[in-house]
């Protein structure tokens, strides 16, 4: 009986791993089989333009998530106020499950042509759309680590030794959370690189202005499949490289 269960588990695990690997890496196989047609597209203006917009907007999102998300995570960990867990659900969990297309629609209504602040279909719109969907990763990582530091009572000791909030943050909490903030940044960046729905609705697909890799893949997948494959390969390779290098950095510091 025990062996049968082990066998079933092994089959389930293999099926899962096979599905995930095939979904993630099949694009490389396709690119290799039609390399002659795909290769020139890597240097096409449209792919490079989308790549530039994707990388730069995702980097800005990562920085903004650090600047704004880390203070929010601090209040989640150390603040003592009512409805804290509700607020955490709304700010951290919900954006990760909310359909991105509807977020894009909300921004379009709120900050589009009908509002006095019309920033729809601009680079700023790309950043805002990506920020909502991606920054909760940073807040989640930071809050979890801050709570671990708090549980060890290190904040009490630092305070008893005379540290104020600034000294507690910059000499104890942040140095002890550096690895997790780095991991949060890398995941935020990677998630922002892959964001499609909110960006497409709020920022549109304007080459060299708001077109990012996912929207490029979406818009040319039927008409120019080789461009779509090249763009997909570039995006995926960058995401994998970023995650590997950052995680290696995290591991080395441990």
């Amino acid at each position: 009986m025990k062996d049968k269960i082990s066998l079933l588990f092994a089959v389930g695990a293999l099926a899962f791993a096979g599905f995930m690997l095939a979904s993630g890496f099949y694009i490389y196989l396709i690119a290799c089989t039609s390399w002659k047609e795909v290769a020139p597209q890597f240097l096409s203006g449209r792919v490079l333009g989308a790549l530039f917009i994707s990388v730069s907007s995702s980097f800005i999102v990562g920085i903004l998530a650090l600047v704004a998300g880390v203070p929010f995570a601090y209040f989640l960990a150390y603040g003592d106020f009512r409805f804290k867990s509700t607020l955490e659900t709304l700010m951290v969990d919900l954006p990760q499950t909310f359909p991105p297309v509807t977020v894009g629609l909300v921004y379009l209504i709120l900050l589009g042509s009908r509002s006095p602040v019309n920033i729809a279909f601009t680079f700023t719109a790309v950043v805002i759309a990506k920020f909502y969907v991606s920054s909760p990763f940073m807040v989640g990582f930071a809050a979890r680590r801050f709570r671990e530091v708090k549980a060890r009572g290190l904040d009490l000791i630092a305070r008893s030794l005379g540290a104020d909030t600034r000294q507690l943050l910059f000499r104890i909490i942040i140095p002890l959370s550096r690895r997790d903030l780095l991991a949060g940044f890398s995941l935020t960046w990677a998630r922002a690189m892959g964001e499609l729905g909110a960006t497409m609705v709020f920022a549109g697909i304007i080459p060299w202005r708001t077109e990012v890799i996912p929207t490029l893949v979406y818009s040319v997948s039927q008409t120019e499949p080789n461009t779509a494959i090249a763009a997909a390969v570039v995006a995926e390779t960058l995401s994998i490289a970023a995650l590997i290098s950052l995680r290696r950095g995290v591991r080395e510091k441990r």
């Binding site: 060890r152 009572g153 290190l154 009490l156 000791i157 630092a158 305070r159 008893s160 030794l161 005379g162 540290a163 104020d164 000294q167 000499r171 104890i172 140095p175 002890l176």
Partner: protein
């Protein structure tokens, strides 16, 4: 050396009364042990004195002045928690100098104080080591040095011997007593083990269910235990 007085201190967690009209007074330079069974309110008492918890009623008074409204960072107390709470990203020297640095103490004063503290706790050779490279007894001495470096008005120790293995406990206990006598700090030390309490304390306050039921020297407690709880605690030493 300062004097601590607690006046009618009460603290509840919901329906649970953790501290119930606690009155206690130390003398200057005294090593006062607060002893009692687990969950009797010892650590809550320590955290109220430290300022990490606000009492529902009553006052914490240092040298005649109520410090109830003072935040933890302004009370000037040294605190050593059960697991010593050394900052893992700092070495021994940096741990000891932390309290002086955050108060903008001049560098030469910091260096002199750290040197003096390292010598007091006999860890001059280990100043560049990280906490992960130290034994339990060494960690305890670093935590003491860190707390004493700021010249605290009061030293608060929470179960300082609980992480120390039995083989080295007697030695660590003696070294703890010696360091604190040399430093001359008024100390409140929470312990659950009567043997440790009787070996360390100048006086012992026995707590049960949030109340202090007897305060006296080890000799007084042995000769005239006022309560069945005190008798029971003393009896455990001879089992």
């Amino acid at each position: 050396m300062k004097i601590l007085r607690l006046e009618n201190v009460c603290k509840s967690y919901g329906e649970t009364r953790a501290l119930d009209m606690v009155n206690l007074e130390t003398t200057a330079g005294e090593f006062m042990v607060v002893m009692g069974p687990s969950g009797c309110g010892k650590t809550t008492l320590l955290l109220v004195i430290l300022g990490a918890l606000q009492p529902d009623e009553g006052h914490v008074i240092i040298d005649g002045e109520a410090v109830d409204d003072l935040p933890m960072e302004s009370r000037g107390m040294g605190y050593v928690p059960q697991d010593f709470g050394l900052f893992p990203h700092m070495n021994v020297r940096q741990n000891i100098s932390f309290g002086l640095e955050v108060k903008n103490t001049p560098r030469e004063v910091i260096d002199q104080t750290v040197k003096r503290m390292l010598s007091l706790v006999q860890l001059s050779q280990h100043s560049e080591r990280r906490p992960s490279e130290l034994s339990g007894g060494e960690k305890q001495r670093v935590a003491l040095a860190r707390a004493l470096a700021t010249n605290p008005s009061l030293l608060l120790l929470d179960e300082p011997l609980s992480s120390i293995d039995e083989a080295t406990k007697t030695h660590v206990r003696e070294s703890l007593k010696k360091i604190l006598k040399e430093a001359g700090a008024t100390t409140i030390c929470v312990l659950h083990n009567p043997e440790d309490a009787f070996a360390l304390g100048d006086r012992i306050a026995v707590m049960n269910k949030g109340r202090i039921i007897q305060v006296g020297t080890p000799q007084e407690l042995l000769e005239e235990p006022r309560d069945s709880i005190v008798k029971k605690l003393i009896a455990t030493m001879y089992v």
